[in-house]
């Protein structure tokens, strides 16, 4: 081996030793930053968009790239391409998981639009009337729920995500108890909008838990401002009055 090659080999060896010595610091920084694995998102990128986009993401143009993917998803959506739409929704959220719109809209597309694409617009009544249709609706509802589950690391304290899950569970799978549990989680975030309290109470009524619903309404009423239209204080007051009457009548 001539001296130049020996020198290069020594340098590479020294670089490896440095890399090994610095690896605890590397891991510590990555842990502190909460950096996730890039393997999956890069694999998707290379297969679907080529290297140009991945370099853009590596460079930091994340939101721009994610928005472009979301835009291109609209083309697949118009063509009712299930695989293409699913792939691009997953890709957009993988590139930039921060915007809640990608998660909420994505879940709505999966749970509401895709079953109708599968059975055809002319046969949408099958999704309710036939067992096969209901199975299709349930299958896509489960897929949408699984998709929303993936948003937890980024939107774990976002009540809108729980509300979306509850809506899918209630309307698409008929799992009212599951929906109530999701709404409880939404209320647990402490930043839930007024509407979630009302939906939760109405769901409890549907589940036959009227006394609980009354307790929720009464506690909620105490916190409502007088001059906020969204609070719908008069509606809540009316529901409390009717629930009290119903509970009295049933005793």
């Amino acid at each position: 081996m001539n001296s130049s090659r020996k020198q290069i080999a020594l340098f590479v060896f020294a670089a490896l030793v440095l890399g090994w010595a610095v690896s605890p610091l590397d891991r510590s920084i990555a842990t502190q930053l909460g950096q996730r694995s890039g393997v999956e998102s890069l694999r998707n990128l290379e297969s679907q968009f080529g290297q140009g986009l991945s370099v853009a993401i590596l460079g930091g143009y994340r939101s721009v790239a994610a928005n472009l993917v979301w835009l291109s998803k609209n083309g697949d959506w118009e063509e009712q391409d299930v695989a293409g739409t699913l792939g691009k929704i997953a890709l957009a959220t993988s590139i930039d998981p921060r915007p809640e719109l990608f998660w909420l809209n994505g879940a709505r597309i999966i749970a509401n639009d895709m079953p109708t694409w599968v059975v055809g617009y002319a046969n949408t009544d099958q999704l309710i009337e036939t067992e096969e249709g209901q199975a299709v609706a349930r299958q896509y509802a489960q897929r949408a729920l699984k998709f929303l589950e993936e948003s937890r690391p980024y939107h774990g304290d976002n009540p809108d995500v729980y509300l979306e899950e509850a809506t899918i569970l209630w309307r698409k799978t008929g799992d009212k108890a599951g929906a109530a549990e999701r709404l409880e989680r939404a209320l647990g975030t402490g930043v839930a909008p007024y509407v979630i309290y009302r939906v939760y109470a109405e769901l409890l009524i549907e589940l036959g838990r009227k006394a609980e619903a009354l307790a929720v309404y009464e506690a909620h009423y105490q916190t409502l401002p007088d001059n906020d239209v969204e609070a719908m204080k008069f509606v809540v007051a009316e529901r409390i009055r009717r629930l009290r009457k119903e509970l009295e009548d049933s005793q």
């Binding site: 930053l33 994340r62 930039d96």
Partner: protein, 283 residues
């Protein structure tokens, strides 16, 4: 025979002089001006592209654009300018005149490094100030339009963190400059240094993927390649803190400290090797 007292002492002053000359030469380069103009235009285009923004808030979107410009254009500039400035001296034989004078080769290497790095720092500072101005201007307009969105009239954007991001990217780019200097001490053309520099940038950016893949592949050969990429090159992905900052999170001081230490370790290592390599180079 030279005695110890007659021997030339290593001088920071000579390295600084070379660095300042390198910096002056670099800021006069058309490439530097073109790259700066391009990066500022890219940042300004975020105001046009905001119509295509579906997810994050407008301010986050503008911040993302600025962060992207700093990393992409800053890294490209670092690779091209460093290779041009260092290898250009050898190619045009001006290095021979310099090295014939009482000057250590390591002084030349360090001077060139600091000159090139200062050029990129200048670029980063300009872009950071443009980003701060763009965000401040837009935030002021939004505050006037929707005052209820700002609790007690407080601004949302953490301007100090944007400057912190620029500082961290400067460290990343410092490592890249040191790597390009190292390749230039071996290279037989500036293009060779640039291509290798670009490769290190991309592989360093993907280094965390190599670490992940290392644990998942079965092939021993692939494991060896991934291990080599994992340990032999710096992990530039660690400097991607823009996502956290755009989410409105503050970076802890300890993180800044660790990243500075990381950059200092790799930067000084590559520069030390570059000095050794350049000392042994025959002209």
């Amino acid at each position: 025979m030279t005695t110890d007292s007659e021997r030339l002492k290593w001088s920071l002053g000579r390295a600084t002089t070379i660095g300042l000359n390198t910096f002056r030469e670099a800021v006069r380069m058309k490439l530097f001006l073109a790259m700066t103009a391009l990066a500022v235009c890219a940042l300004a285009s975020s105001f046009l592209f905001r119509e295509f923004n579906f997810g994050s808030s407008e301010l986050k979107f503008i911040a993302d654009f600025g962060f992207g410009g700093m990393t992409v254009f800053g890294s490209a500039l670092a690779v091209i300018v460093t290779a041009q400035l260092f290898y250009g001296e050898i190619e045009h034989r001006t290095a021979y005149t310099l090295l014939a004078k009482p000057l250590y080769r390591s002084e030349f290497v360090l001077g060139k490094f600091f000159g090139a790095w200062a050029t990129v720092l200048c670029f980063m500072a300009m872009l950071a100030l443009c980003l701060v101005f763009a965000l401040w201007w837009r935030e002021t307009s939004i505050m006037a339009e929707f005052p209820e969105e700002f609790v007690n009239g407080r601004r949302i954007v953490r301007y100090g963190d944007i400057l912190g991001f620029a500082a961290l990217q400067s460290i990343r780019i410092g490592i890249l400059c040191a790597v390009v200097i190292l390749f230039s001490t071996y290279a037989t053309s500036a293009l060779f240094s640039m291509v290798l520099g670009m490769l290190v940038w991309i592989v360093g950016q993907l280094q965390h993927v190599a670490v992940e893949a290392w644990a998942t592949v079965d092939s021993l050969i692939l494991k060896g390649i991934y291990a080599l990429a994992s340990f032999a090159l710096p992990n530039f992905h660690l400097f991607d803190v823009g996502e956290r900052l755009a989410l409105g999170e503050a970076l802890p001081g300890s993180l800044y400290g660790k990243l500075i230490l990381y950059g200092a370790l790799y930067g000084s290592f590559y520069l030390a090797i570059a000095c050794i390599s350049f000392n042994r180079r025959e002209f």
